[in-house]
Symmetry: C2
Subunit: 388 residues, 2 copies
Amino acid sequence: MSGQLAGGDLSRLRQLNTLAVVHALRRQAPRTLREVSRAAGLSRAASEEVVHELEAQGWVEQVDPAAGTMGRPARRYRFRADAGWVLGVDIGGHTVRAMVADLDGEIRHALRQPVSPTAGRAERLAVVDKVVAECLAGSGRTGAEMWATTVATSGLTDAAGRVVLSVALPEWTGVHLAEHLSRLVAGPVMIENDSRLAALAETWRGVARYAQNVVYLLAGLRTGTGLIINGRLHQGFAGAAGEIGALPEMGWIRAQEHLRVWPDAPAGTDSEDVAALVFAAAREGDRRALTMVRRYVKDLALGASALVLALDPQMVVLGGGFSRSADVLLEPLRRELDKRCIRTPEVLQSALADDAVALGAVRHALDHLERHIFDPGSGLAAPAAPKR
Amino acid sequence: MSGQLAGGDLSRLRQLNTLAVVHALRRQAPRTLREVSRAAGLSRAASEEVVHELEAQGWVEQVDPAAGTMGRPARRYRFRADAGWVLGVDIGGHTVRAMVADLDGEIRHALRQPVSPTAGRAERLAVVDKVVAECLAGSGRTGAEMWATTVATSGLTDAAGRVVLSVALPEWTGVHLAEHLSRLVAGPVMIENDSRLAALAETWRGVARYAQNVVYLLAGLRTGTGLIINGRLHQGFAGAAGEIGALPEMGWIRAQEHLRVWPDAPAGTDSEDVAALVFAAAREGDRRALTMVRRYVKDLALGASALVLALDPQMVVLGGGFSRSADVLLEPLRRELDKRCIRTPEVLQSALADDAVALGAVRHALDHLERHIFDPGSGLAAPAAPKR
């Protein structure tokens, strides 16, 4: 058996060394060559060669020595997380949000703007355009600098980036979101379901960081779910997973109806605000409000129980707009799950609340880049937006 | 960068070569060294060395040349799938089944015996003992030769091999099946839920062989489900996945009640036979029977729709005792799913019917062996039953 490495193996080894050095520098304070060499498990000479190559390409840069440093300090290097950017957009019924993040996922600018739930397609798209433009400006970047963009929407989407069906926003069905956004940004534009993206965010920066199996509930003026199964966001065979709420027996279609009317609400109060009044009254012990909340939770728990019994997750995460009132929702939800489930998992409040969907969109865009740029199969791509 | 392989790498290379040769010989007609060398991608000399080593260990043997072969034929070798054995046991409400299989999963003997659904724990265990003893005898093996055993039971089990909860067989709750079976066989004894094992069998030898996402329905005098998600049998965080039928709203508790009574059935007819009479009458177009079947399917479809909407599987497989009457069940089931689901997947009849659970137990025991004996991390273990 020969112990020699062939040419292909050597080039492969070089790719792996490059990624090891990138890994040693990403999301770290600037490091000296000695520190890089130790963290990457490479010889000093090999590390230096790779670092200089990455510097020439624009992936790595030298950092100025700290002021007041004595003598001749060792040069330190950092990964240029600002070599590229991603955009996450959340198009909701009541609000449009956008976030610009660097390659390490640091949010550099975030922006939100309300939109009427009854807005037509053109009006909603106009708000999207405005929010994206202002968020880009706020971050000091341009659309041309966005290497990848993910847009969250309610409903079902197809691979081409069209909304195939939106029950929550009927005028939205058929809109070609990917095409629309592509006029605003460079790089690929991906469209995903909002509940699924919120679940993804929760495993990234939320309470589900160390969980492999999670039922995430997007609780608000509509109810959705995103499922994390064996550590992966579950998409389903045709990307239609998580639509259990469409089954009337699961209670999610009628759940929020219990929170629509509150006598003390001035006429014309937004539905989200009416629900907030009910939650506030329940918090004060108002019996009528407590009954309304109990009915809501009972319906929410029906679908949640079906998911818990089917999947036996480690935790249920309550997210979405209503999760800000988790103090009046979590205990009743636990009790309802206890009644129906064989094993009740932990029930936790989302750490991200309203930001979850947009954060999930950012994570989704970053995941796309990681697969294409930091690819152990073909090494590191040049620092530029991937082709659409 | 050095191109030399260290000592540890060489020993690892030898392990991989050994597994490559085993792979070239398993589940194949006997092969010559030239054929092994080509299939394993190794030099003739390296293949010969490994084959002789495997022969000395008892994993491989020479095959006599075919009668009438002219000249001096090349020696041919085969993998000794009969170096070890596994046992699969299915303890059902009405029937106990056992199967003995070799290391390649060939079933060498299978046996079934009826048991009364109202049998007590001792009586049922006595039938299990008898079926296992007769199946071993029929296969010409002994319990000491069983390298791994998996036992299928309804209900929830724990890691120690106890039945934690059985709704279908109340006297069964608390029985320590692993301990009981360990008196009969060598090697580890594993206990698993029957619906999950049936789903596993369907991905091994059934209609779901090439599917990554499957909702398997065990339809019979009780209804269960096994979920295949991203190519893996889904167990859940605490091994309690697939229990959606426990939720009354899912219809599975009452579904089979629609098939319990048939006027033409003689008094004392077994429930399974009553259902068969209803299916037979429905097949002939009897209106009363068709109504009963429609009601049954409607309830079955409720839970099935919840699973389809939640998971968006590639296919739904109808298995279990009732799947023998798939000709009168599949079309109504498709129609009901169509009414409720956003995307209706293929709905297929199980290819394995009543044998699915025991076959799944065999596959489960083999999977355990594959992980421990044919391990790419540590190479090939000696041919002997793994330690308990």
